[in-house]
Amino acid sequence: MLKNKLATLLIYLVAVLITVTFICILADIIIHGFSQISWGYLTESPSDAGRAGGIAPIIVSTALIVFLAIIIAAPLGLATAILLTEFAQQKTIFAGFVERCLDVLASVPSIVFGLFGNAFFSLYLGLGFSILSGGLTLACMVLPILIRTAVEGLRATPDDYRFSAAALGITRTTALVHLLLPTAMPAIVAGLILGIGRAMAETAALIFTSGYVDRMPDSVFDSGRSLSIHIYDLSMNVAGGDSKAHAAALVLIVMLLIINAISMGLAKHWQKNRIISNEIII
């Protein structure tokens, strides 16, 4: 009995510890950064190495980089996951090989992706320091996360669904689009959020691909500084940049929260729409 209570207490303590850590970080950022945030901060360009002015071009660059990365990685990731779960036999050498590759890719440090992106996209393909090469590099980096979570989601859907669909004479594609994907949607969206989170927080993979330029980008072929690089530069490289670094960190966290909320909402909407609607063609 005592043992049980101790275990319960321990579990609560761990939960509290995690929450407290998060709240401490958030409080530190809000306390030091909130006073710096103003309309001007969100709409102006940085000046004096980031000590003055705002972060408008940096927000735009970050959004473009992440948007590109997800637009490129999401279809590829979903297609690979569908191939692995629905079309390839789980035990074949090919499927096993692809999954091992993904595991290795997921554990590669981001600076390696950065150097690869610099060598391949920036130099070999001649994209230079550009938002496009940053987005492509990040796409490579988030791909394994997207595939892994989508595979888990699709594997978790009960086989009964597949059998029932087959019994009713529904084609595999229809079953996939109207039944299996909507059921797996929460997992797929969770993967998407993880991917976006990793992409937005990335510094090492971007400093040599999308670069350091804090001008408003004209096109995706321009170099653009991401929020995480801006935060890193202000806190580590620029004397007197601490308060602005906190403010930029606050903006980054708020952006992440907004994106999370939107994707969660969309996922719920899509799931409800698909599974219950009478669109299913029998």
Partner: protein
């Protein structure tokens, strides 16, 4: 209906982002310069570049970081037009062209409550090697010396080691720091600490009620003035590097970056403009 509105939203997003995906047609008239190199110099050059762009609307200057060695490699590989280096060129790099735009000095700093007012070269070596461990041995209070050192890979560390003839492995630091700002905060917060940082930022912070004190080196006061007149022994040049004798827009930019017109920008990044 919902599908349709989703489609419309997608279409709108695409059309808005189209502007970003298509390169501007008038780009051929815009000359683009790429600068890579030292992270110490990059923020300064980014500011100079912005001012140069505002005077020359048909020029775009992209400033990238990565470190002095990268700047030199990129210039050699013709990946960049101009390299930035926070050190002089080495013998093996003598085929390149170097242009000094500013100077940076490195000063020994202690907390301003510390009664010690000067240290000679040997004493600093002994402190960093862990042979002198108490301020009492140097005429200070009875307290352990907290030795603050720079992290591996920083050019400030390289210069410090070179000047004092030390190896990083011989040092016995208590605290390892990254940038200048962190060093100043560490020493200001600990009455028994000793460290070394950029003269410009140290002088600025010491003048703004931060609890640090700059110690003279070889009897020469650590000040921006003495870095400028080159009497202060521990200083380094901040250079622009090119592969060939610069011509055209590169020449114009280098001339502008070393002119009187950017002295205020150099000072606001706590560096020392070269004498004109």
């Amino acid at each position: 209906m919902k599908q349709f509105s989703l489609f419309i939203i997608l279409l709108l997003t695409l059309s808005i982002s189209w502007g970003y995906f298509s390169e501007n047609s008038d780009k051929s008239e815009v000359k683009k310069l790429v600068l890579t190199g030292s992270s110490t110099v990059a923020p300064l050059l980014a500011e100079i570049a912005k001012r140069f762009e505002s005077l020359n609307p048909n020029v775009r200057i992209d400033v990238q970081t990565g470190g002095s060695s990268r700047g030199i490699n990129d210039v050699r590989a013709r990946v960049s037009d101009i390299g930035m280096a926070s050190r002089s060129l080495r013998l093996s790099e003598s085929e390149l062209f170097s242009f000094n735009i500013a100077l940076d000095g490195i000063s020994i700093i202690v907390n301003n409550t510390n009664p010690v007012t000067s240290l000679d070269k040997q004493q600093i070596i002994d402190i960093y090697k862990g042979k002198i461990v108490n301020w009492q041995q140097l005429g200070g209070q009875d307290a352990t010396i907290i030795v603050v050192n720079k992290a591996e890979g920083r050019s400030t560390l390289e210069l410090f080691l070179h000047y004092f003839g030390l190896q990083n492995t011989e040092l016995k630091p208590h605290v390892i720091i990254g940038d200048n700002q962190q060093g100043i905060k560490t020493v200001a917060g600990n009455p028994h600490a000793i460290g070394y940082v950029s003269v410009g930022s140290a002088e600025y912070e010491a003048g703004h009620q931060v609890a640090i004190k700059l110690l003279p080196l070889d009897g020469i006061i650590a000040s921006v003035e003495n870095v400028r007149n080159q009497t202060f022994p521990l200083s380094r040049p901040l250079n622009l590097i090119t592969q060939q004798q610069p011509t055209g827009i590169i020449k114009d930019f280098i001339a502008y970056a070393s002119s009187e017109q950017v002295a205020d920008l150099i000072k606001s990044q706590y560096f020392v403009p070269v004498a004109h």
